[in-house]
């Protein structure tokens, strides 16, 4: 938008400058035109030619070469002044336009870069979040599997321990008996077992009596 306005301003300045230059050029050459026309008309009538000749002389006398040269100089100076002023305005406008262009380009580039960086940052963040989620999910899975394995191992260990303990406890009497017999079996005299046997018989006395009396 601002670029269009700037172009319109430049076209306007150029048109104004052209008009001024055209007007000055036409103004510089106008004194000769009436003189030529009067020459043509002098052929048609004497009176008019005399008047015209007199006017011509007056004009020649008033607008002599020095006056014309002075007018030319004034016009030249005025033209140079206008050109200089317009050039200055043009320079200011160009500077302003350049500055605005720079600002515009800077803003546009900055905005574009910001948008791109924002998109890039969002992509990075998305990828980062995706990687974090994936890692978190993997860690959760590993942790669950570790807990399951730990629990399974613990259960198996406890079960095996219980089985071993039960087997050991179930056969403890045989183990102790075997150990005792291996250790002191040959040193146990049968006569020394009498008290033990009598004691055991005393403990089962009632059952033996009942069985002997009723189980005939």
């Amino acid at each position: 938008m601002s670029l269009t306005i700037l172009l319109l301003v430049l076209v306007g300045i150029a048109a104004i400058s052209g008009g001024i230059i055209f007007a000055l050029l036409r103004g510089g050459s106008s004194p000769n035109a009436p003189h030529k026309k009067k020459k043509g008309k002098n052929v048609k009538g004497n009176a008019i030619e005399d008047i015209a000749e007199a006017a011509k002389d007056d004009v020649e006398r008033v607008f002599n070469d020095d006056f014309r040269e002075e007018l030319r100089n004034r016009g030249r100076l005025h033209f140079e002044k206008i050109i200089s002023e317009n050039a200055m305005f043009l320079q200011q406008d160009l500077r302003l336009t350049t500055s605005e262009l720079n600002e515009f380009m800077k803003d546009e580039i900055t905005r574009t870069l910001k948008d791109e960086f924002k998109k890039y940052e969002e992509s990075i963040n998305d990828a980062k979040q995706l990687a974090i989620d994936s890692i978190q999910q993997t860690q959760n899975t590993i942790e669950q599997q570790r807990k399951a394995l730990t629990q399974q191992l613990s259960e198996q260990l406890t079960t095996e321990k219980q089985h071993s303990l039960q087997r050991f406890e179930a056969h403890m009497a045989d183990i102790v008996n075997h150990y005792v017999l291996e250790a002191v079996g040959e040193q146990i005299d049968m006569s020394e077992q009498l008290d033990f046997i009598i004691g055991q018989l005393e403990r089962n006395k009632d059952a033996i009596i009942r069985d002997v009396q009723d189980g005939a």
């Binding site: 406890e169 403890m172 009497a173 045989d174 102790v176 008996n177 005792v180 017999l181 079996g185 146990i188 049968m190 006569s191 077992q193 009498l194 033990f196 046997i197 009598i198 055991q200 018989l201 005393e202 089962n204 006395k205 059952a207 033996i208 009596i209 069985d211 002997v212 009396q213 189980g215 005939a216």
Partner: protein, 190 residues
């Protein structure tokens, strides 16, 4: 002759004869019965013989001597012989018998003491048969007609298993804080 119904082995003896503790097994009772019957036959034959014929009386066994002496009997008396024969027949037929198994062959003194206890506490005519069962360790296994009484050291340990387990747990619990390995016996230094 009228046939008698079989009497139970726990039927009470009518005689007052007592078995000596040295007579333990039914085989010894049967041997005594044969012996006393031979003696009785001898005296019966002796009564039929003519006087002046030399004869040799059968020698009495140690068990027979013990049986006669314990019951204060005289084998020359026919009544006593008949009482002994009657008693031994009843004993052989009806006395309760238990079977006792030991890890090794028990000495006679042990079996006599066991017979004495059984006759004093269970039945006065109790007889014992002896068997071998090497895997029982110490003690014995008593088998009656219907039941088996395991009086061995193995069964004793089985009954005391909970005590072993408790002691073992106590020992392991005391050992766990130090974790210095199995406890050293007293007097043993590293």
């Amino acid at each position: 002759m009228e046939e008698q119904a079989p009497k139970p082995r726990t039927q009470q003896h009518t005689s007052t004869v007592q078995l000596p503790n040295s007579v333990v097994s039914p085989m010894e009772v049967a041997r005594l019965l044969r012996e006393i019957e031979q003696i009785d036959d001898f005296f019966n034959q002796e009564a039929l013989r003519q006087s002046g014929t030399p004869t040799n009386m059968p020698a009495n066994s140690r068990l027979m001597e013990s049986l006669v002496q314990n019951n204060q009997m005289n084998l020359l008396d026919a009544t006593h012989r008949q009482a002994l024969i009657q008693f031994l027949r009843e004993t052989d037929a009806h006395a309760p018998v238990v079977h006792m198994s030991f890890s090794v062959d028990p000495p006679g003194k042990l079996t006599q003491q066991l017979a004495m206890w059984l006759r004093k506490n269970i039945d006065e005519h109790m007889l014992i048969t002896i068997g071998l069962q090497p895997n029982i360790g110490a003690g014995c296994v008593l088998r009656t007609t219907n039941k088996i009484f395991d009086l061995s050291l193995r069964e004793f340990f089985t009954e005391k298993r909970q005590i072993f387990i408790d002691r073992l747990h106590v020992a392991l619990t005391e050992q766990e804080p130090g974790t210095a390995g199995p406890p050293q016996p007293e007097g043993v230094t590293a």
